[in-house]
């Protein structure tokens, strides 16, 4: 549910658009100058009489007319083929570029999480747990802890499934206001309250004193700017930075509030076995992701298809976009300018733009200058939303809410975002607008914020054990997984879950490194054998 990766491919739409407009223009252009072939064409069907040629022109013979027609058709076909080839090349070419564009935010997010976990002990302390993980791994028996971990994971998964379906129902019945309100409250909570907590722990960790006045000023500014950037309009880099920050905050919350052994020092030996829940949750979630996205009856697929049918843009605040989509039309959802593209490429995948969210954020204008189709797309990437905290034990199930939204957003985003014909959705005005205005769209890669979060949770958890080898190994594993996912995306041109591959690699690398590589390296170092 979290990892959706999709590539927005407007080039095909552009191509089809140009194709269509080109094709449309040709007959128009030739009509005034070349009455003879056209009128006989129209008249051929009816078998009407040959029209009088305009004075000063000799009538074309049938063969010449047919030849000319044939030539025109041939030209059109070649033109189309050439464009298709170009587009295919472009897709793969930009696929690689966008992979790099995604590496940076993912790495930044993980960096923030690792830096925080390493320096601020708050996030590695156990003590309070979410209401939803009743088994706190306090027993001595390994088997019991494993069982407890699995039960916790399945409780959480069940919650996520329920909330996802709830979100889909809301979406299907067009209760957009509820969803919007929910998202806004979540981002408010995240941007203000959790930032305050984060700031507090950061200051406490570095033993810096601050007064209420300064703190409230900082948090107020930060929060308001964040809301504006994410939900409305703001500089792209800033939006992306906010999304990365928000994703890191969520990851830190997960790292803290999923159960682990509480007594580190006393149970040092057992703590090696202790954090089953986190790992099991990660594994289970990636399986769920796979199922939900790829299964025909999966909830996320339903969302995707519904969004496709409705040609609606994806909610902001849940995806990070590597490019910005620009649309001259205003969308029903004010914060989500969608791309207007024509539906000519109806058969093609179109929608898969993979970008990433929250964010986002962001970036550089189209590299497509060489093709003469510069497109810039702005997809509002947004932060995750969270519900207001309900659980007494801690921060409640926000992350589940966030996840569903993430999934939903991902789904929709992933879906035919690129194909969506914004004019239809925006309420009619766009239909009148010329297609050429929409040339300002760029293919961007979108990645769900949930993906950011879980990548960061994995790396943060790995780093909380203090071993840098493991941390770096996990980091590289995740990047490799992301690379592979994006390659698959370029090949399959469908919405893909971004979690399974990366998390699998990450888990394998983590356990392999911590159980095999680290003792091996230590032994080698202690014997002074260098390889």
């Amino acid at each position: 549910m979290d990892g959706h990766v999709s590539i927005e491919d407007h080039s095909v739409e552009d191509g089809s658009r140009t194709r269509n407009s080109g094709a449309a223009k040709e007959p128009r252009a030739t009509n005034p100058s070349d009455n003879d072939p056209s009128t006989p064409m129209a008249a051929e069907g009816a078998g009407g009489p040959t029209p009088q040629p305009p004075p000063g022109r000799r009538p074309l013979t049938e063969e010449e007319r047919a030849a000319r027609l044939e030539q025109r058709r041939q030209r059109d076909r070649e033109h189309m083929e050439r464009q298709l080839e170009e587009e295919e090349e472009l897709v793969l070419k930009y696929g690689a570029q966008h992979v790099i564009k995604l590496f940076i935010p993912v790495s930044l997010c993980m960096l923030v999480v690792v830096a925080t976990v390493a320096s601020v002990t708050f996030y590695s302390e156990k003590g309070i747990y979410l209401l939803y993980t009743p088994f706190h791994e306090t027993s001595d028996s390994v088997a019991k802890n494993v069982m407890g971990a699995f039960v916790n994971a399945f409780i959480i998964l069940a919650l996520v499934v329920v909330l996802t379906f709830f979100l889909i129902l809301l979406y299907k019945f067009r209760c957009y206001k509820i969803i919007h309100g929910w998202l806004i409250i979540s981002s408010l909570l995240l941007l203000f309250f959790f930032t305050l907590l984060y700031l507090m722990e950061l200051l406490r960790g570095y033993n810096i004193g601050l007064d209420w006045i300064t703190v409230s000023l900082i948090v107020w500014n930060f929060g308001v700017m964040g809301m504006v950037c994410i939900h409305w309009q703001g500089p792209l880099r800033l939006q992306q930075a906010y999304l990365i920050f928000v994703a890191s905050l969520m990851s830190l919350m997960f790292i803290k509030y999923l159960p682990e052994y509480t007594v580190w020092v006393v149970l040092a030996v057992i703590s090696v076995w202790g954090e089953y829940t986190v790992w099991v949750v990660l594994a289970v979630i990636s399986v769920w992701d796979l199922v939900a996205v790829l299964c025909p009856k999966g909830p996320l697929r339903i969302l995707v298809e519904t969004a496709q049918e409705r040609n609606e843009p994806i909610f902001p605040a849940l995806i990070y976009s590597s490019n910005i989509l620009y649309s001259s039309l205003t969308m029903a959802e004010s914060s989500t300018p969608s791309t207007s593209t024509t539906d000519n490429g109806g058969s093609h995948d179109g929608g898969e733009a993979v970008a990433d969210p929250l964010q986002q954020d962001h970036h550089a204008p189209a590299p497509a200058g060489g093709v003469g189709r510069p497109t810039i797309s702005t997809a509002p990437s947004s932060s995750r939303r969270r519900r207001s905290s309900e659980a007494e034990a801690g921060f409640g199930p926000e992350w589940e809410a966030g996840r569903q939204q993430r999934e939903a957003a991902r789904q929709r985003r992933v879906a035919e975002h690129g194909e969506a014909s914004a004019p239809d959705v925006a309420g009619g005005g766009g239909a009148q607008q010329p297609q050429e205005e929409e040339d300002e769209e760029e293919r961007g890669v979108k990645l769900g914020l949930g993906d950011f979060i879980f990548y960061s949770v994995l790396v943060g958890k790995a780093s909380s054990y203090g071993d840098w080898n493991t941390t770096i190994a996990c980091f590289i594993a995740i990047l490799i997984g992301l690379c592979l996912t994006l390659i698959m995306l370029a090949i399959f041109k469908k919405a893909l879950p971004a979690l399974p591959i990366s998390i699998t690699f990450g888990l394998i690398f983590y356990f392999a490194t911590s159980y095999f590589v680290v003792p091996f390296a230590e032994n080698l170092a202690s014997e002074q054998v260098f390889i």
Partner: protein, 101 residues
């Protein structure tokens, strides 16, 4: 958003909104406004809305600088005098650092 793709009136209205919003104790918004629209207002060929934009950018920039100076001054004063002020300082404090001041 990529402002290079926006129409001039839209840019101006965005600049204006950021400017007026900054009056709600939001120097960060002013700073963002100044930096974001700096190139638009000063380093682009002139267009009708640019004059007003220049004004907004300049005032936003100056405003945010003043706020920055004020906040830094207050922080310095507070951290130096915190222990002397006793109870008032404790009430004002968000985090009280450990150790001897």
């Amino acid at each position: 958003m990529d402002i290079s793709r926006m129409s001039n009136t839209k840019k101006l209205s965005l600049c204006r909104i950021y400017f007026f919003a900054g009056f709600a104790c939001l120097p960060f918004m002013w700073a963002v406004n100044a930096i974001w629209f700096l190139r638009e207002a000063f380093f682009k060929p002139p267009y009708p809305e640019q004059k007003q934009m220049k004004r907004y950018v300049v005032i936003s920039g100056i405003g945010s600088l003043l706020w920055l100076v004020a906040v830094i001054a207050w922080c310095v004063v507070f951290s130096l005098k915190r222990s002397e002020w006793g109870e008032v300082a404790d009430k004002l404090s968000f985090i009280i650092p450990k150790g001897v001041p």
